[in-house]
Symmetry: C3
Subunit: 468 residues, 3 copies
């Protein structure tokens, strides 16, 4: 558990404060799926980790979609008849519906109201609204502001532009000894919203920083992309290489005070699902595993049936289930340094498991090897054995080519690190040998594990026919 150990040198609160500090720098920027806000954001990430930035021109076809016009905004306000600024973009970039077309006009309250969005049940908060693909303009304001609007004419101004330009995304690629890839993806298109998704952005960047320059088994690809259209664009441009992705995670909403939620990949039994489940079980915080569903973040695209990549989504509180979601209350107070730091630790733990998870072959498969003569057993018989010795017995017994270390950890109930340490020691003693990577086998939870393992292993070798 190399990266977890490296992180362990520092208090998670200290690390989390750095992450929170970075989030605070990024918070004021008005981001969208295109435009200068996201460019500034990518540049700030690039100052911390090696990042290749790609600009894709407006009008480019990406599967069923088209890269849209680039949106930029300079100013926006609503003034009342007395010239008083009622709503001002410079106070909060949430005030303007994202992708609003330019407008400068005077109109009655009634006309204006068709373009106003508020949350009656949360009278102090400004909602976050977008209209990327349907030309429209609008203002978001607190319900209190809405109530204060008297009859009369209002001057509305949105000084924005929608023009041919580019969609930008950032990519940090860390080559490992294998071209098999681990994908970590976060969306970076939301304006002043902290949990959704400066939390995911900062944790992703910190994870890339942690792995950067290290000797790695897998190659790692960190994507900082606009949600939906960014993932679709990246997939369209990298369609041929997507098969390299062995494991993937979407990181989002990972800084709030809630416990962890992991939404499984569409495959549902992938190694990433097994790895995250295992790490969360021992992380010391409450956690819940959710079945895959096709609504959510960019796992929607990675797990579309044509790709069906093993990509899950790690969150704390689930989008849409907390009132602050997509409002001005998802601010810098809503995300907490300690939670950010702990989220990074979980991610590092997942990387450690993926890096170390292998299948081994028992080189003495007939009866137990004599561990005692190798100093790997207790010397006085009759007493109970230690966990470390138990882990060696498990690693020997299940290293039959069918079980990975994660499978053994699950079946034995022992932590992955204990099993992994045992396997390493047994390798050094010539009792186990790693099996070269190739087809991997997924294990499964609970008491039916054995039977389901079998069912899954069969699945592995006898692919279900699907149409394409």
């Amino acid at each position: 558990m190399r990266f977890l150990k490296e992180l362990g040198q520092t208090d998670p609160l200290n690390i989390g404060r750095q992450l929170h500090g970075f989030a605070a720098e990024l918070y004021p920027i008005c981001r969208s799926i295109t435009g200068d806000g996201i460019r500034r954001t990518l540049a700030m990430i690039q100052s911390r980790i090696p990042l290749q930035i790609t600009e894709v021109p407006t009008g480019t076809s990406v599967f069923d979609w088209t890269v849209p016009e680039e949106w930029n905004i300079r100013n926006a306000y609503i003034k009342d008849a007395h010239g008083k600024h009622i709503v001002d973009f410079h106070q909060s970039n949430l005030h303007v519906m994202n992708y609003s077309t330019p407008v400068h006009a005077t109109m009655s309250l009634n006309e204006l109201k068709a373009h106003l969005y508020a949350l009656p049940e949360r009278p102090d908060w400004i909602p976050y609204r977008t209209s990327y693909y349907q030309q429209n303009w609008g203002f978001c304001l607190s319900h209190k502001q809405m109530l204060a609007l008297g009859e009369g004419d209002y001057e509305v101004c949105i000084d924005s532009s929608l023009e041919d330009g580019h969609l930008a995304y950032g990519e940090c690629y860390l080559p490992g000894s294998s071209t098999d890839e681990v994908l970590i993806s976060c969306h970076v298109c939301h304006p002043s919203l902290a949990n959704d998704n400066l939390s995911g952005l900062t944790v992703t960047a910190a994870l890339a920083d942690l792995l950067s320059g290290k000797s790695l088994r897998y190659s790692y690809r960190f994507l900082f992309i606009p949600g939906t259209i960014g993932a679709i664009t990246w997939l369209a441009r990298n369609r041929e290489n997507v098969g390299r992705i062995c494991h993937g995670l979407v990181l989002t909403g990972i800084g709030d005070a809630g416990g962890f939620h992991y939404k499984k990949s569409r495959q549902g039994y992938a190694e990433i699902d097994q790895a995250v489940t295992h790490v969360l079980r021992d992380c010391g915080e409450p956690s819940e595993i959710l079945e895959f569903s096709p609504y959510g973040y960019d796992e929607r695209q990675y797990c579309s049936p044509g790709f069906n990549l093993p990509v899950g989504c790690l969150m704390r509180s689930v989008w849409g289930t907390y009132p602050e979601y997509h409002t001005s209350a998802d601010n810098l107070d809503f995300i907490q340094p300690l939670q950010l730091g702990r989220s990074l630790r979980v991610c590092a733990g997942v990387v450690d498991v993926l890096e170390e998870n292998r299948r081994y072959r028992n080189l003495n498969p007939y009866c137990e090897p004599q561990l005692g003569k190798r100093g790997l057993y207790r010397s006085t018989g009759g007493e109970a054995i230690a966990t470390e010795i138990n882990a060696r017995l498990w690693a020997l017994n299940l290293s039959d080519g069918a079980h990975s270390l994660l499978d053994i950890a699950e079946r034995s109930g022992l932590p992955f690190a204990t099993i992994s340490d045992a396997a390493e020691l047994l390798c050094q003693s010539g009792l186990l040998a790693p099996i070269p990577s190739g087809a991997t086998f997924a294990g499964r939870d609970g008491r039916l594990q054995t039977d389901l393992d079998k069912a899954q292993q069969i699945r592995g070798s006898h692919k279900v026919a699907t149409l394409d």
Copy 2:
């Protein structure tokens, strides 16, 4: 959900009253597995739906069985020494053991008692007894009648005949666009017993009436047959065509006040099992799913190992578990119009699911298609999505050739109709295309669904070797 909608125009109580009225007409007839009682019954069904009646001669070999002599009865009584009618067939046809041989004799109470059947624990009720295959005669009477019998001689008379004749059954075949068949079977051999099985008979006839003259995907075959020997006779005469049956239901005991019970087919994972389970889940009444067992109604024959057809059994209260079962208390008051009407609705719902359940192919399987430009998405981003949109995402994501709409409904937790509507809309938009019928895949319940789906799909393509 075409047929459910058509039924929905009428209050289930009104429909149920019609069903109950038909049951009341049929109730007085003394039916048996052969004879004029069943002929009159079939004729009355034939006046409502197109029915082909088959007469199979006594002595015909049907697998391990032989069509028995035809039984008819005109009169039966027990008179005491004073000439008083103690028991009279014309008061209740249950008084005579069904298939009693003719007898006319005078005998002592002691001799008579060997031929009397009563229910001490239910002193007012007459039991229902039969002796089809062992020549015998007997009277069934209430325990109170039994107790009132004094010493002395009794005149017993059963004016019945057992002669070469025929076994009659009725068949209503509604051709659909495919020769693949749905089988609906009910037994029509019981005399004055209402729930068992005038309830099944009337609901089956009403379902046939509902589907008659309509454009159908499947062909439907409704069997009105004597229990056991009727099903065996039909199977023996149709052995070559039985492979056309894709889905089947035995309907019985479906008019009492109890909740639904569905006994799964021997296969246990057939589409009919999945469909009925799904419909019952949303039917608004309590319901319970029972594992297959080899005792019961004619599913015993359809699910014998040589056929192993996907035929389940839909009931309300389970035979043998309620005291009125097989007694004179299973009368017209025991079945309720509202329950009959609701049972018909459930059957119509099952037909709707079978008719509409298909697998589809996502024609844009790489990433989500852009629903917004087709008017299939919300226009303002940032808010939650409606159930209808969620259903579209599910239908797109799982239309990979392996999942049927029922599978998608189960996995998403959404009603079948919502998923089916979504699929239809997506077809109209050119995003989905139906996959021609052929091998179907069954889904499964609960959290293990994914794994078991796989196991089952494997089963589909790699048949388990069985001996024959």
Copy 3:
């Protein structure tokens, strides 16, 4: 259930008293993994059942191990400065660490203490300790004895020898009509410890005695061996024939007052696992089924990945979980005649199930055969059917080549004996025929049984590729 019936003639308490009497004869002997103690033990077993004794020379290579020097001991004591015997081997053979090297010396209390073992938390009990493979000597004594040791010099004497010799084990082979084998294994290397494992030894010997001279379907092999090295030695010498073992049990710790525990084989779904689970379910005592783990008794060797034999372990209280384990408190009072007798009954029940468990073919698979004309059904219709008739319907319905009688017993919820009796009767009536032995199918528990059966049957025909 032939052997269970034979045992049933005698009160289990009476049989248990005989077993306890034999344990009492064996109790005083100082056994070890080699030496005269085990020879005397094997000779006493040989006086009761036919036993072939094998002596394997010191130095023989057995897989990763080597047969050790033979250990014998004549005397051992600790004397204080006054010549008083503080610790005396003749009072309890547990006082000497098993396999202690010879020593005769005078030393200070401090020097001595490095060689003393006691249990502070159980001040009256002597622990059991061994040092087979690391040359050492030691004394085990009660904590009270330990506390009573004053400062001063002590004379220590262990009159033992470690010399070239032999490792002895006993084997009772009862040939059956098939060379397919059932293996029953117990370790016989522990000195004065009653539950671990005179209980297993005496029950194994009694089971062999019960089966001896009888006509048997399987061949039975009873192993009386030193733990670990004995099993390894036997496996090394019989490597070529191990494939004959179809079912196996390790019997240990089977005489104490606790309920039964069965640790499943590594396969986890073997017929032995199914059989023991079924027998325990109906045994009238509490029981628990444990998943396989690689620590325990000689199932460790039989279930090593190279062999992966279907061998489970039947116990009462689980080793290591009760305080008396591996101490002088595991004495003749700790094992109870009634428990020994009942344990033998469970073993006999398992043998009965294995002997009788077969798959049958329904010779009338199309519809039910007419049981009534063969006197196998009730004669009066309308009433409930008896359990015996229900068992016949189950046996007919599931005798499709895929289900064994055990599978049918599990799926029907009826006792194995009821299903087995039904199958025998149906065979006599020409309705079923046994399928010649060959690949067997395992069933499985609970509501997912059907699906998992399928998964497992698939597994049977499509072997998972493993490396070797």
